[in-house]
Symmetry: none
Amino acid sequence: MGAVKTKRMPRAVREQQMLDAAVRTFGQRGYMAASMDEIAELAGVSKPLVYLYLNSKEDLFTACIRREAAALTAAVRAGVHPESAADRQLWDGLRAFFTHTAQNPDGWSVLHLQARTHGEPFASEAAAMRAEIVAFVTQLILAAAREAHRDPDLPEREVAGLAEALVGAAESLADWANATPGVTETEAAATLMNFAWSGLGNLMGGRPWTPPGTTHEVSG
Amino acid sequence: MGAVKTKRMPRAVREQQMLDAAVRTFGQRGYMAASMDEIAELAGVSKPLVYLYLNSKEDLFTACIRREAAALTAAVRAGVHPESAADRQLWDGLRAFFTHTAQNPDGWSVLHLQARTHGEPFASEAAAMRAEIVAFVTQLILAAAREAHRDPDLPEREVAGLAEALVGAAESLADWANATPGVTETEAAATLMNFAWSGLGNLMGGRPWTPPGTTHEVSG
Amino acid sequence: MGAVKTKRMPRAVREQQMLDAAVRTFGQRGYMAASMDEIAELAGVSKPLVYLYLNSKEDLFTACIRREAAALTAAVRAGVHPESAADRQLWDGLRAFFTHTAQNPDGWSVLHLQARTHGEPFASEAAAMRAEIVAFVTQLILAAAREAHRDPDLPEREVAGLAEALVGAAESLADWANATPGVTETEAAATLMNFAWSGLGNLMGGRPWTPPGTTHEVSG
Amino acid sequence: MGAVKTKRMPRAVREQQMLDAAVRTFGQRGYMAASMDEIAELAGVSKPLVYLYLNSKEDLFTACIRREAAALTAAVRAGVHPESAADRQLWDGLRAFFTHTAQNPDGWSVLHLQARTHGEPFASEAAAMRAEIVAFVTQLILAAAREAHRDPDLPEREVAGLAEALVGAAESLADWANATPGVTETEAAATLMNFAWSGLGNLMGGRPWTPPGTTHEVSG
DNA sequence: TATGAATGAGCATTCATTCAT
DNA sequence: CATGAATGAATGCTCATTCAT
């Protein structure tokens, strides 16, 4: 079990083995329930070596978050052609996102569940990556508006909210797709595009949904 | 800082005090980092009494999840008038949801973060409540389709995915609204309605977004 | 489960119910593993009442030891006719002893196991009862010598040792009989009489077993 | 008072130190009253190390029982010459037994009191050792019968009962000798040989003690 | 580079015991 | 006579972390 116990490996390799083991353990057991003992054993090294290379449980977890965040954003970036139309970029990015999360459930658990749940400094670390994605989506929304030859008078915060909503929907669908047998990444992406893109289009076309003038009273 | 130390209260009252303290502690520290000592102190009682009434940390946490889940669904239900139009129901429900989560950040953390992160039996407990909400949203989507006199040929799973996406977007916006100063519940709800409702309308109007290069199979 | 919960009973009755419950619990769970909670519940009363009547766990246990010790010695005494011949008295006493221990396994456990195992003041309490039995047996041995018209030049300590051995053998056979299905009290008593009486007779007849003159060397 | 606090010892050595401390503590305080803290302190190590090496209080106690059982049977075996006559073997074995128990009072307490008092799995562990000794004594009784050229028609269970009685008498005398100042092992052994051997001889010689009023069925 | 040996500190849980009514 | 409410004090066990080699 765990990596084959080979002696005297270069540091970089050893570190990756440790991070592999850590992501797996953190993803499955959770940050607090994961023990350094288990991680070291799974990595096939002694505990002091883990501390020598990664310093502390906190640092190790942070390193996991960073590595998985980098891997996720890289995957999405790799799936997107910057010259494509905005909707095509979103479509490609979503498929890359769903594919990556489906193939890296432990990494996704680390980023989406563990890092957000266990306070600082982890939450910020994960939030930074999420902000990057939200920013990317924000750009796509603005680009779509430009493509539609509509200089959107959407206030900045409204666009930010839309991007948040879209990213939140995507995260939710990722979990749903992973939990529902038979749902493909393409299907999840299509569901979200259908859901979101027309709404965005209407918005930018100046046809927003309008709230009713009266607030409905409880048991009124 | 905890509850005023009044002696000799009836069990039911003490139990609520304990649950208050527990939700606060679990919500802020996280399930594992929260210590029974801290909860007892915050509740103004001794640890043995917590165990006498709530049995174990697991049971205590489960009780928190159940109470907060009940409170959240009750709040949403109370905000919705079942005879209203579907969009109105969604609008009212969302505002109630954003209001409740903004006013109960610890409860929301327990439900949305802690319960999902720390495995069984907590995850199932929270999933049950979420499923209830998703089911509610699903009904609204179908009702909207009926109201539009369009018996949608949307496959069941597609509708489920849409509801998931909508709920995920709402959850995400709740966090965003809580973290962004100055964002009101009404604003968050309006953002989501704008984002979602037109998209749903187009979908049900038979005008889905079609993936490039491929013919998308849904109602294609 | 436990005694039927009747209110307002005279103190003496309640105390016996508590002692019944305590003997059963101490006998089965052991002194330390038995909890006052369990005893109170089994007795059908509240814990404070147990403390009101019996003071403390220690006192409660001590009371159990005394009651069971009294019951055991009473049973043996009741089985013996003081006018009988010495061997007849031993025979009757043994049968009474085996019968009583077989019918009161919890009491026997309290006396033979629990009391001796958990230090002072319990060990002394049980030792007192045992000393009584040993004294009784000692008298029988001396009586047997008189009956054989032999003023035994057995030193006092030798007789004490013989009585100890006999009592120890009896205790051991009680456990053996209780653990071996189908062994009757009569059978156990007969086994012990056969084993012991002839040996005593020979002893008193001046034909003791004589140790070999040399000490056998290990692996010599 | 504990072992001299020497740092960095090989595991095997430390384990023995821990077992020494544990036997002493369990023997004197009893299984339940002994705390792991006390054992660790007496062993001169920290508690985590005790858990690292011995796993749990249960495992630690079991290890104690096994070690002490092995030591006791080894001591008896070492004292007995298998080619000697049966009575000589018994005599030598008894002296070894009394000597060992006198020199290892804590171990004897663990085996004879604690292990039997605290339920499974400890009772079985101690019972296994005791069964070994009973079997040895049983063999000696049968050997004695052969040596007397008397194929005894003693039923198997009768012999088992005799062995039980003899072992029980020995256990009792061990406690008595330890508690009575000035009683040597040789004296205790002689007392028991006197008590037992002639009785056995008579039995095998077909002269059992017969119960009054009834015809005793064994070889009657 | 790598590890066996070792620990300080903390945590969930339980229990005998006592008030206030 | 009787009890619901409450707690101080342990106890078994685990974990992140470090030192000596």
